[in-house]
């Protein structure tokens, strides 16, 4: 029996012995995502049990080294693990900014001590992380950030404000970019620092969007003392860490944006249109809407083919790089077009914000249309993506 077959067999056995029945099968009790952190609740004790088992095995982050809370699996083993879990209808629901964004940066830039301190708590979901990059004056021009950290003995004293700190109000720690040298050229005086949000002087305030409540917050730092040991990488070299991390963020946003797109597609555009417009002469009642739907469907095919092509190219080592900006740009706009179209099809029904007599789905369509407006702005505006394409891909001069 080969190693991988052995692994498969032992995994299967372990799952049989350890995965609670309520956490298996098509109607399992698992939530889509467990974000972790101090506020995480487990209404079903079986889920907690299942999480503990997974954490113990290192299977929330199976490819991470064991010393950081993983299981040190090879890619092949990880694939088998996922397949076996899938086969019995279970999975590891732990997912977080810590896993997807901070951890890769720590793996690359942190000291051994820092890794041993923070990675296991990410792997176990003990600590939930959020990100502090943007500031009111530093949006597209992120590197112009002003939140400052002044050295005082073994601490930095931090003062300033961050915005768009997603989930800050429910997170335990924040990773931040702060200015440590106000006199250096703007990309050179920035450091990357980890802050316990329970520290005195840290406060958060949720941001209300045009679509209503949102996961975003403003986060304020008022003479917050943070040990110098919490700095990742060298002082004033935080921009390198940030760039590595931004790449991960864009990938994630594209993924989320896809999620939000498909969220809207609970009923397909076409189904909505058929209900609203009926048939006329054997085709959809409104020829203009019909051709817009065809256009978005064809554009989606083109987008998916492009994703396939570049993914294959990347796998074949033919590289991808800044073309990623293209996906963020195109997908966010495509989803906006779909949301706009859907709202127009729904007409008066989807103008409702609230009240005594409306359909919940219609209201949702309105909220999603509005929330979708953020997709071409947050995580790098469309204009920034166009700048990146023209500079990095097309090589146009400054």
């Amino acid at each position: 029996m080969s190693n991988i077959d052995q692994f498969r067999s032992s995994t299967r056995d372990w799952l049989k012995d350890n995965c609670p029945a309520s956490c298996q099968g098509p109607d399992n009790a698992l939530p889509d995502i467990i974000w972790g952190g101090r506020l995480q609740e487990y209404p079903d004790p079986d889920v907690k049990l299942w999480m503990d088992k997974l954490i113990e095995k290192g299977w929330t982050v199976p490819s991470w080294p064991e010393e950081y809370g993983g299981a040190g699996l090879t890619k092949e083993e990880e694939k088998v693990l996922r397949a076996e879990m899938h086969a019995i209808g279970t999975y590891s629901p732990l997912y977080s900014f810590g896993i997807s964004m901070l951890a890769p940066a720590l793996m690359e830039y942190a000291t051994e001590e820092q890794k041993r301190e923070h990675l296991p708590k990410i792997a176990s979901g003990e600590i939930r992380w959020c990100q502090g990059y943007s500031e009111p004056g530093a949006g597209s021009d992120l590197a112009s950030l002003q939140c400052k950290a002044v050295r005082d003995g073994d601490d930095y004293v931090i003062n300033g404000q961050k915005v768009w700190t997603s989930t800050a109000d429910v997170s335990d720690w924040i990773f931040c970019l702060v200015r440590t040298d106000p006199n250096a050229a703007k990309h050179d005086g920035i450091s990357f620092i980890l802050i316990d949000m329970a520290t005195e002087g840290v406060s958060t305030k949720p941001i209300e969007l045009i679509s209503g409540a949102s996961p975003f917050c403003e986060t304020f730092f008022d003479n917050v003392r943070v040990p110098v040991a919490n700095r990742i990488h060298e002082e004033n070299k935080g921009w390198s860490v940030a760039k590595a991390l931004l790449l991960h963020e864009r990938t994630m946003l594209a993924a989320n944006s896809r999620g939000s797109g498909s969220g809207l597609e609970r009923r397909s555009l076409l189904t909505v249109a058929r209900d609203a417009l009926g048939q006329k002469n054997g085709t959809l009642g409104d020829p203009a809407i019909r051709s817009e739907i065809a256009q978005t469907e064809m554009d989606t095919l083109c987008y998916e083919a492009t994703l396939q092509r570049t993914t294959e190219a990347a796998k074949a080592g033919q590289g991808m790089g800044p073309e990623g900006s293209m996906f963020k740009l195109y997908l966010s706009e495509l989803n906006q077009r779909k949301a706009d179209l859907r709202q127009r099809i729904n007409g008066a029904d989807s103008l409702i914000w609230d009240g005594e007599d409306f359909n919940a789905e219609d209201k949702e369509i309105t909220r999603e249309w509005l929330y979708g407006k953020a997709a071409t702005i947050l995580g790098g505006t469309s204009e920034i993506q166009l700048n990146i394409i023209s500079k990095r891909v097309l090589g146009l001069p400054d």
Binding site: G212, E356, I377, L378
Partner: protein
Amino acid sequence: MSLLLNEEQTLLKDSAKSFTDENTDLEAMREKRSRSRIAEINKDLWQKIIELGWTAIPFSEEYGGLGLGYAELGIVMEELGRGLVDVPLFSNIVLAGSVIDVAGSQEQKKQLLPKIIDGSTFISLAYQEGARHAPYDVSSALEPDPKGFVLNGKKQLVLDGGSANHLIVVARSSGKKNDRGGLSLVIVDAQQEGVSVKNNLLLDSRRVANIEFRNVIVSTDNVIGGIGESADTLDKIYTRAAVALSAEMLGGAQRAFDITLEYLKVREQFGAKIGSFQGLKHRASRWFCEVELSKSIVLKALRAIDSDDPEQKRLAHACKARTSSTYHLSGIEGVQMHGGIGVTDEHDIGLYMKRARVTELLLGDAAYHADQFAKLSGY
């Protein structure tokens, strides 16, 4: 007919401008939205408008009006649109007022016009049934009854319907759904037995109602115009309403543009004002052109109504199509050019995007009006 303002119109514009500057209260709008289910007309604001005489603008002096026209009403609508001032001028004066003015009997005019002018009664027009504007898509049924008529049906998107004392209802006396013939207009007391009103708040924090009529008795006195013969009246009303609404939309689009232009001149990124970036400059310039084109067609269409120009319908369609796309663009570009702050509730630009969306779809969107324009032009 000149598209410039005459002296009196210029005075009216100045006064409307001051009014808007003093009465734009977007904080109140945000607050109202959070108390969503209990939205009501701001009666103080409405009283000021009555005192300024604007509710009297389009009506004949015989009934307490000023005997002016849509050129003047448009000036007021534009300014109210600029400030997102939320008053029932469109619902009461443009929609309901026009029905009475166009098709009401001498008696009906005498009884109702003075009251809507002085604010002692509120009247809403209940016309829409489906999700999209379709003038003859009416199923609400008006049938003969020993006491006159009996009305059954459901209406939605009744503007300011929850605050109305009376409703003017478009109902079908004969024919099938979408037939042009067979439509009637009747007045119903909002308190009458069988009328049930449910209030909603729109995206833009304005009030609409879904209203159901169950065996509501209508006396013959309360029929406006001939039974089954109201299609011409409705065509006229929708023409006027589309243009008056366009004037409001123009004001909103212009203001969204102005707010954004100002932001482009002050916001700095990458060590420069963002208005110095050519990508944004060119978009702003194109946007400017769209607003200018909208301004011209609104002025033209308003005057065509006043002179009863045979082209008024085509102009009205061209006008609403244009302002729909311009206001839409203004909302979208406004928010996008503001970046992050633009999608937060705290910044005003988003409120314009929301109002743009509502007005864009009210009375037919750009595609609807292009279709009607083509139909009227014979193709």
